[in-house]
């Protein structure tokens, strides 16, 4: 089994570190390709599957990003046919109900919260990513 790859759009380095720790505790060997602005993430997503560029197994998007928000990145992912089968999850500590509905409409498969407690964070994020990756791989 080749190493899984996650395309992560997250501007907070502390959260990136926490996500990596969560995956480590799930014993997942994952390559994380992190972008810290919406613009960089969109550019990367548009290149996915084009020529020899690889396609990630999971796209994880933080909702609040410099230069834009998760919705814009999600829209870019939805318009790239190579990413049609790739699950796209939104990471957010809190979302307005109308916003979350909009995200689902744009192709988000689920929301992964960022709980304030360390233990909860590591458990929730680790387990959800693990589940999404195993679904993606089994397809």
């Amino acid at each position: 089994m080749s190493r899984s790859k996650i395309l992560l759009a997250e501007d907070n380095a502390a959260d990136v570190w926490l996500i990596e720790e969560a995956l480590r505790r799930q014993s997942l060997d994952v390559e994380i390709e992190n972008y810290t602005t919406a613009e960089d993430a969109i550019n990367a997503i548009q290149r996915c599957g084009v020529e020899s560029a690889s396609v990630p197994d999971l796209i994880l998007l933080d909702y609040n990003l410099p230069t834009g928000h998760g919705g814009e990145v999600l829209a870019a992912a939805a318009s790239n046919p190579h990413l049609a089968a790739v699950p796209k999850a939104i990471l957010s500590s809190f979302m307005r109900p109308d916003e979350s509905e909009r995200m689902l409409g744009l192709g988000a498969c689920c929301f992964i919260p960022k709980p304030p407690s360390l233990h909860e964070f590591l458990t929730v994020v680790g387990k959800q990513v693990n589940t999404l990756l195993s679904q993606a791989v089994s397809k």
Binding site: L18, S93, H119
Partner: protein
């Protein structure tokens, strides 16, 4: 056009009952007394004269109804006397009956020439004399009554014209179909017409769009008046139809409404200006409200992120450094965690508070308050079980709102009641009653109670009565107040003789849609 006589039937009856004056003239004293005796039963005032001269003198001083005049008298005979009586203004039309012993055609012709109305031949037959004189008495009375009536009519008409002239408006009296019968001098001034030229012309020569008014009611309207020089002006027209024996007429008062129109236009302009300013101000406020709302939302959300990270990392540090830190260092790390947790909690409360403001009317529906209490209790299961609290809830009505904020309301009230409990097991009673046109809810507990002087204070934002790490955010009741007021109600702490706290809130029975 005649003004109606104001004399009443009663006053006319008095006039007709008054005795009239009858003048009896004969040089023969005995004959005179005999005449007097015959006419006495008529109950009229009888004046006696024994000569033509005396008769003339009485005619000068009195208004005589009829004269009985003997033809044959010395010095001045009856015909000469009659001629002189006729020549006087006061007695020119007084009827004269000649008394004579001779039936001669010559005498008759002369007598009728001099205005005699009748001849009576001696010897006098009393019944004939009485009946002839009675006729003259009646005639005189009728004449007198007519004269009084005419005077009365003239007086009333004079008064009427005086009133018409004194009116501040141009007044026109027209027939029902608009033909001018009368106009006052203000008509000249207002229209530049000579009013004498207006009589019998149509009122449309003054007000071209005039139409007859129906019914008996006064009507007010705004039409255009046209002056003689062709210029026009806005005219305030008051028409008052009335009926007389001559038919239906309309009194029309015409006022130059130029100033009024100008004032009205000015008021309208001011109103429009005011509306425009209110709209501008409202737009500015709406904009700043929206900006503020977005700011509050973003601020509370964006502030959550770093504090969440601090919280996670201080926990991580505590975990990974376990056993390597001194007791004092562990304490310091503990303080960081506590304060970060508190800040996180405060920001969460602030978000809830903002969420209340977000719950606009467009999102409202009927909410079952009993279900909202159930949800609130389920959210609070932890502290309810831990404290052994008993929550009793009576049947509650449905109110207009959003489920999320009504759950928040009950949840905050129940959790407050548990948080500020006394040494007794917490007991919370929730009920509602309908008085007049409002539902009033009561949430009663047996906790420590709230000092009456803080009854207002506790509803403030971030206001707390206790310190220490177990203290609340100071937002609980502020959120309750925001929820109740958002739904058009009010909330207060009621005085309660029993220990504990009684919080009431009321919603109008039919909240604003």
């Amino acid at each position: 056009m005649k003004a109606t006589a104001a004399a009443t039937d009663e006053s006319l009856a008095i006039i007709s009952a008054e005795p009239v004056k009858l003048l009896l003239v004969d040089d023969d004293r005995d004959a005179l007394l005999a005449l007097q005796a015959i006419l006495e039963p008529l109950n009229q005032e009888l004046m006696l004269a024994e000569s033509g001269k005396e008769a003339l003198r009485l005619c000068l001083d009195h208004n005589i109804a009829a004269i009985l005049l003997d033809v044959r008298m010395p010095e001045m005979d009856g015909f000469e006397t009659a001629e002189l009586i006729r020549s006087r203004k006061l007695s020119r039309h007084t009827p004269i009956l000649f008394l004579t012993a001779y039936r001669s055609d010559e005498q008759l012709f002369r007598g009728y020439d001099l205005g005699a109305v009748d001849f009576l031949f001696k010897p006098i037959v009393p019944e004939v004399l009485q009946s002839k004189v009675s006729v003259f008495v009646e005639l005189s009375r009728s004449e007198r009554m007519l004269r009084r009536q005419a005077e009365e009519i003239a007086r009333t008409e004079q008064q009427f014209r005086a009133v018409l002239e004194a009116a501040p408006d141009a007044m026109v009296i027209t027939s029902e179909d608009g033909c001018i019968e009368l106009a006052n001098s203000r008509v000249d001034a207002l229209f530049g017409h000579d009013r004498s030229n207006l009589i019998k012309r149509h009122i449309r020569s003054l007000i071209p769009s005039w139409t007859p008014v129906g019914g008996g009611a006064i009507s007010e309207r705004r039409l255009s008046g046209v002056r003689q020089d062709g210029s026009s002006f806005p005219a305030q027209i008051t028409s008052n139809p009335f009926s007389t024996s001559d038919g239906r007429f309309i009194t029309t008062a015409i006022r130059d409404a130029t100033d009024q129109v100008r004032t009205e236009a000015r008021i309208q302009q001011i109103n429009q200006e005011l509306e425009r300013r209110v709209a501008e101000r409202t737009a500015a406020l709406t904009y700043s409200n929206e900006a503020l709302r977005q700011f509050a939302w973003a601020a509370s959300h964006d502030l959550q992120e770093p504090i969440r990270t601090v919280l996670s990392y201080s926990q991580w540090l505590a975990e990974s450094s376990k056993g390597t830190l001194s007791a004092r260092e562990e304490q310091m790390l503990d303080v960081i965690q506590q304060q970060a947790a508190r800040l996180h909690q405060l920001l969460g409360a602030l978000q809830q508070y903002i969420q209340v403001a977000e719950s606009g009317e467009s999102k409202w529906s009927e909410v079952n308050c009993n279900a909202a209490v159930e949800t609130a209790m389920s959210n609070l299961r932890g502290i309810i079980e831990e404290s052994g609290a008993v929550v009793e809830c009576a049947p509650l009505p449905r109110v207009m709102g959003t489920n999320i904020i009504l759950v928040q309301l009950f949840q905050n009230l129940i959790s407050n009641a548990i948080k500020y409990r006394s040494s007794d097991r917490p007991k919370i009673t929730i009920s509602a009653q309908l008085d007049d046109d409002a539902w009033t809810f009561s949430v009663k507990d047996n906790g420590v109670g709230i000092d009456p002087k803080y009854r207002e204070y506790v509803f403030g934002v971030f206001k707390r009565l206790n310190a220490g790490q177990h203290a609340g955010t100071g937002m609980g009741l502020a959120i309750c107040k925001a929820v109740v007021e958002r739904l058009g109600g009010r909330i207060w702490i009621a005085s309660n003789p029993e220990p504990g706290t009684l919080i009431c809130f009321s919603f109008p029975r039919e909240p604003k849609p």
